[in-house]
Amino acid sequence: MQWLEDHWQGVAALVLMGAGVWWMMPRRTEWPKAIGMILALVGAFLLASRIRAAEGPVGETILFSVFATSAITCAILMITNRNPVYSALWFALVTLSVCGLFWLQFAHFLAAATVIVYAGAIVVTFVFVIMLAQQSGATIYDQRSRQPFLATVTAFLLLGALLATLRSSTSDDFHVAAQQTPAAATNLLSRPTENTPIDADTMKGLGRSLFGDYLFAVELAGMVLLIATIGAIAIAPRRSRGTL
Amino acid sequence: MPIDPKDVTWITEPELGFWEATFLPAIMKGLKTTLGHVTDYRPVTQQYPEQRPILPQHYRGVHRLNRDEKGRVKCVACMLCATACPANCIAIEAAPAPPDWPDRDKFPAEFVLDELRCIYCGMCEEACPVDAIELTHIYDMTSETRAAMVFDKNKLLNVYDETKDNPVDPVRTHRGRLGPASELENLATLGPATSVERDDRAAKANTPGVIGAPPPAVRNVSP
């Protein structure tokens, strides 16, 4: 009870956000979605205001706010939209926002690679499959959601727990292992390299890490990709000519 | 009648040579052709409003209603042209001829021809027993409204007044006697609608044969 009294603002913000998302869930009666969106965004901003203020440059903070807001907004819209094509498009926007966040963390190559793989290939494939599979337009299973209330409560309990853990951790926790060697140093199958500073040369450092520390994992990943390709070709249904 | 198997020639698909199968010579040859037209640039375009096309003599343009020697309309409102018209674009309102026109019973009180509906087939010209309706060489008649393109009797007669002295549009027919336009053997030889220069490459026939390949093997299949 004491904890609840101390943290009632955060709990209220969580409840607000959860209520907004629950309001937007597809159900039989259509409710104005704007109300839910506003509720969810107000809750999200209240939650954000509870997080420790950043000490970075102003421009970076502005960029972060833009990317984070668009990521969460698009994610909410994605999981609540009744049209799967729109869901896929909102997901593409989430991907772009997340890539912006990557860019802010000096993961430039990763941002570009994520755009290529996710937005360029995966979401296009999804849109493709939706166009092919769901030809009759709106369906009843897109208009209803399964257990929206219970699922929302569970999910936002999880979010609250995660944020509470984040908040209770001190800043020292994040810097404990900063000077340690990479975990791969203890790995038999890899060759540890020197630790390059993260914001110096992304390409070089990432290449060292991938093809030095994790060389065998990279080989394995390539093998997994190959197997997945063969599997996808094998599983994909064969149709008789002229049908979809 | 079924096709006689004697007349059928079976042709085998020519064997694809190695260099043909790579398509590289064909691409090179195509690029050479297009580049050749760029470097050796001889346009055949006719600059229309300044240069007018020389039309063949049998060109069929806008209609006119001919007048006879006394300046009266030649038409006798027999409705043959309206009946023959496949586009159904002629409407005639007949009236008894005035008493001082002894040579006919009827004359057209109104003669309306919808130039937008007309397909310029010239059947009205053929059908007319008194050679009253003729097609002129006017091909660029336009207007801003559809209503203005429906020609009544006065407009059609005006077309006659404008074109009768034009050398390409003589009064081709005379009453009771076919004019030069009807005498097909006297017509000038047919030419294309636009003039073609003597060394125009576009008008030449294609060179026969396939690129770099022997002539296709031909074999006759007996039934």
């Binding site: 420790r52 994520t114 769901q134 337009g137 390059t196 | 409407a91």
Partner: protein, 173 residues
């Protein structure tokens, strides 16, 4: 620096939770796979942030592995979804409930369980594509007056010459 870390982690957590929520509630197979990818985004963001905390490239390297796995997942998952779709002609996850406990009720909502018309009756159809937006209103094409007037012009009186006044009237309108 620390607040900087926290806010990225918070966004990662929110993305993960929203993806999980979508996975729980949505019933369209494709949207469920998409929600799983959303969870992967949250995890990737967290990994990159941790990598930055530890001043190493391991987080980014792991995220690249996640990218690989996501690509495999998309390919395999979508081909599985297509295979299921070929069998049931629906993308509803609740259609595939053979493995549930026999004494439990069907997860599908009652009103839908009654009207089970998922498998279409006619097998051979021309391919149709997903309509976007609203269905075009074709009512004017079925307007009987238009059809009748067109027929009266072409079929019933094909060779009647038009009257002068009618020609002028029809054009001047």
């Amino acid at each position: 620096m620390t607040g900087d870390i926290e806010r990225f982690l918070a966004v990662g957590a929110a993305l993960f939770v929203l993806g999980a929520l979508g996975f729980f509630t949505r019933r369209n197979l494709i949207v469920m796979v998409l929600s799983a990818e959303l969870m992967l985004h949250g995890v990737s963001l967290t990994l990159v942030t941790f990598g930055r905390v530890h001043n190493s490239f391991e987080g980014q390297a792991f995220t690249i592995f996640i990218l690989t796995v996501a690509a495999c997942e998309a390919g395999l998952g979508l081909s599985l979804v297509l295979a299921l779709y070929q069998k049931s002609k629906t993308l509803d996850i609740d259609f595939w409930t053979e493995l549930r406990e026999p004494d439990l009720p069907s997860p599908r909502v009652q009103e839908e369980a009654a009207q089970r018309a998922y498998v279409e009756a006619s097998p051979a159809q021309y391919p149709r594509l997903t309509p976007a937006g609203r269905v075009p209103d074709l009512a004017h094409e079925r307007d009987p007056r238009l059809v009748d007037s067109a027929r009266s012009q072409t079929a019933e009186s094909p060779l009647q010459p038009p009257l002068v006044k009618e020609v002028i009237k029809s054009v001047s309108h």
